[in-house]
């Protein structure tokens, strides 16, 4: 199966490791991975700030970049939610409507793709530790993917996953919210870290880089010995 990877701009800049793990994981599971060089960003930073026209230019570029793909897979729930939204955003633009819909329909978040399309629940990973999982808002509420990551983690050997209290609460990232409303954002992430600490897990796992950057940034600042990992890093570990 040929899969086109949408890396997302955050991973492109900050976390090449996550990209690498995603590629290796997909290959392990029998996929041929293609990386369209022209890809940029899903458009969310502009879109969520109200700059819809600007965001749409980015989106058009993305539609063209992934035109050839059979499947588009991304290790980021939030960016995938944005891609899925393209079909609604271009509905009234005849030139783009079909292409946008096509892209939305063939796009999957990484864990969703593994469980729903590849139909695999055990990826054969091993990771020693006690972990808790951060449910990101866009991925669970808007994309509707909340079971797949947990299903996959359940099968990781050596990993004990403990539930995170108040898991449904946002971590306070919200893109530009984190700097525009920094005072509120700080309180939210503090509360999240407090809940994570209460689980006594030594690893925090998430499937959204924005959230992980936010929570991880706070954990680091507090000097907590909790590792922050993207789910691809766990699933590609053996």
């Amino acid at each position: 199966m040929k899969v086109s990877l949408f890396l997302t701009c955050l991973i492109d800049v900050f976390s090449s490791e996550i990209g690498k793990d995603t590629v290796e994981l997909l290959e392990k599971l029998g996929c041929e991975v293609d990386f369209p060089e022209g890809q940029t960003c899903c458009g969310q930073p502009a879109y969520n700030s109200g700059y819809i026209k600007e965001a749409k230019e980015t989106m058009k570029h993305m539609i063209n970049t992934f035109r050839h793909a059979d499947y588009v897979v991304s290790p980021s729930g939030s960016c995938m939610t944005m891609l899925k939204e393209y079909e609604n955003l271009f509905m009234d633009e005849p030139e783009w409507a079909n292409k946008a819909e096509e892209l939305s329909n063939k796009s999957y978040e990484l864990t969703q793709f593994i469980v729903e399309v590849l139909d695999i629940e055990d990826v054969g990973a091993r990771y020693e530790g006690t972990a808790t999982y951060h449910t990101s808002c866009h991925m669970s509420r808007l994309l509707g993917v909340d079971e797949s990551p947990l299903t996959l983690l359940k099968h990781v050997k050596g990993l004990h996953v403990v539930p995170l209290p108040f898991k449904q609460d946002c971590c306070g990232f919200g893109g530009t919210f984190s700097v525009k409303m920094a005072r509120i954002s700080e309180q939210m992430v503090d509360e999240k870290v407090h809940h994570i600490k209460s689980t006594e897990a030594n690893v925090l796992i998430g499937a959204d880089c924005g959230c992980l950057m936010n929570i991880g940034g706070r954990i680091n600042r507090l000097g907590n010995p909790i590792e922050v990992k993207h789910i691809a890093q766990i699933l590609n570990h053996s």
Binding site: V13, E17, F35, G50, E54, T65, R141, F177, K180, R218
Partner: protein, 475 residues
């Protein structure tokens, strides 16, 4: 008081709220309690999504045909011997109500809880015309004594804990007992009983008006609305023009959704209904009844992208699940309409100038949209506001506009983008301390005050990928 509360700018309001640890503790524990019971009652009902669909359809149908149902309602109220007044502005509503007070030579008004009378600043207007106003809902009574604005639709004194309430009662009413909730409530009851008996006029809000029978309904947990509508000889109800349902059948559904979403109950303890003044064969009820229907900017929403905000049944579920509301409480919104729905309607009713920050006071986590029993896409409406501020209102700051223009240029071109990724990595290296950035430039400063910011990757994923497809590995 009117819709707007306080004069301080948004950032000041937020920092005041964030420092108020009593308030934050009170709000957070109330949220925990309310969302817990709400989830339970939803599970118990089953098919929650279908109930939401149905309720959303009822609200949409009603608002789509609002003119028809308002006409039907007013005809039926008049048929039953009541009076109907359409007020376009708060001033018109207050003038009409004051004129009744004057005509009746009323000295005392008892009120049951109502957001719309807060919105028009009715208490203030009545006091100015020399009439004493007594709030009879426990929460309203507390904040009236404390001279505070409400901080939540249904629990207006949510921001106060019981020790603070004890203190208010002690200083304002000579209360001498403990902060035990039962004792506090018993005291308020005692105080209020005499007020009911001596009031000339009763004023209520209206949860839903039932168009085909001309009935006003009031949902309470204390039964005080029952007293307000039975004791005084003259009765005035004030409603926002959208608070209407076609018939009792739809009423049955939305009122149960309201109770479930608001307080996690199948039905609120009291649902009082009032259909016109006392008829000849009736035992009780007022001798005279007035219904004031308020527009105050609502009709602007009809036919606009914000029309669905009129579907709101003011259940407060969106406030109760909102993490931003949890931390800043109701007052920081600067409007009596707080939380997610407040951030949507305050800029419409009160203008962008006054409330332009509110649409940004959200991470767009969509917990609100998920909780709303009538499926208002709250986070999308917040986004619509942001778009309006950028495109129509010219309200976006210039530096932000420049950044977004640059964003468009960079992310719609593969070459520009790849170049920027490389230079971002290069530039940010100068701000690094070890693996992380602990004190960033420009707006990143806001982030790095309490959080580290990651360093860009040392190796480029792109190089690695290219290399390995050629058989090598860059890592």
């Amino acid at each position: 008081m009117s819709m707007k509360i306080g004069q301080a700018p948004f950032t000041k309001r937020v920092s005041t709220s964030l420092q108020d640890s009593f308030m934050r503790e009170a709000v957070s524990s109330a949220q925990g309690r309310l969302t817990g019971v709400r989830e339970q009652i939803i599970d118990e009902l089953g098919n929650w999504e279908e109930w939401r669909e149905l309720s959303a359809a009822i609200r949409k149908h009603t608002i789509d045909h609002l003119d028809y149902y308002l006409y039907e309602l007013s005809e039926n109220v008049i048929k039953r011997g009541g009076n109907v007044y359409f007020a376009e502005t708060p001033e018109e509503a207050n003038q009409y109500i004051s004129s009744i007070i004057t005509k009746k030579n009323a000295k005392k008004v008892v009120k049951s809880k109502s957001m719309v009378t807060e919105e028009i600043g009715l208490n203030h207007a009545l006091k100015a015309s020399g009439c004493e106003v007594v709030e009879t809902d426990l929460g309203e009574y507390i904040i009236q004594l404390a001279e505070d604005p409400p901080s939540h639709f249904l629990a207006p004194a949510l921001h106060k804990n019981r020790d603070q309430i004890q203190e208010v009662f002690r200083t304002k009413r000579g209360y001498a007992n403990s902060s035990n909730p039962e004792e506090l409530t018993a005291f308020a009851r005692e105080q209020l009983r005499n007020e009911f008996l001596s009031a000339d006029i009763g004023i209520t809000g209206c949860n839903f008006a039932i168009a085909d029978s001309g009935t006003i309904s009031l949902v309470t947990n204390e039964g005080n609305a029952e007293m307000v509508t039975t004791f005084p000889k003259t009765q005035i109800s004030v409603m926002g023009m959208e608070r209407i349902v076609p018939t009792w059948k739809e009423f049955d559904i939305v009122v149960s959704m309201l109770a479930r979403s608001a307080v996690g109950q199948k039905l609120s303890t009291y649902v009082s209904t009032l259909t016109g003044p006392k008829a000849k064969d009736e035992m009780d009820g007022p001798e005279e009844f007035h219904l004031v229907i308020l527009d105050n900017g609502r009709s602007k929403m009809i036919g606009s992208e914000f029309q669905s905000a009129l579907h709101c049944i003011r259940c407060s579920a969106c406030l109760n699940v909102c993490p931003v509301y949890r931390h800043i409480g109701g007052h920081a919104y600067g409007s009596i309409y707080s939380g997610p729905i407040g951030a949507v309607i305050s800029p419409i009713l009160g203008g962008y100038e006054e409330y332009k920050e509110l649409p940004y006071a959200s991470t767009l986590c969509s917990a609100c949209t998920d909780a709303c029993p009538v499926k208002i896409p709250l986070h999308e409406l917040l986004l619509k506001h942001r778009q309006n501020i950028v495109e129509k209102e010219g309200g976006a700051p210039l530096p932000e506009k420049m950044v977004m223009r640059a964003f468009k240029l960079v992310t719609s071109s593969a070459k520009m983008y790849q170049f920027s990724v490389k230079s971002a990595s290069f530039v940010s290296r100068s701000f690094l301390k070890g693996e992380n950035m602990t004190s960033g430039p420009f707006s990143l400063k806001e982030w790095t005050r309490t959080r580290d910011f990651p360093a860009p990757s040392n190796d480029s994923f792109r190089d690695w990928f290219k290399n390995r497809s050629k058989g090598g590995s860059a890592f």
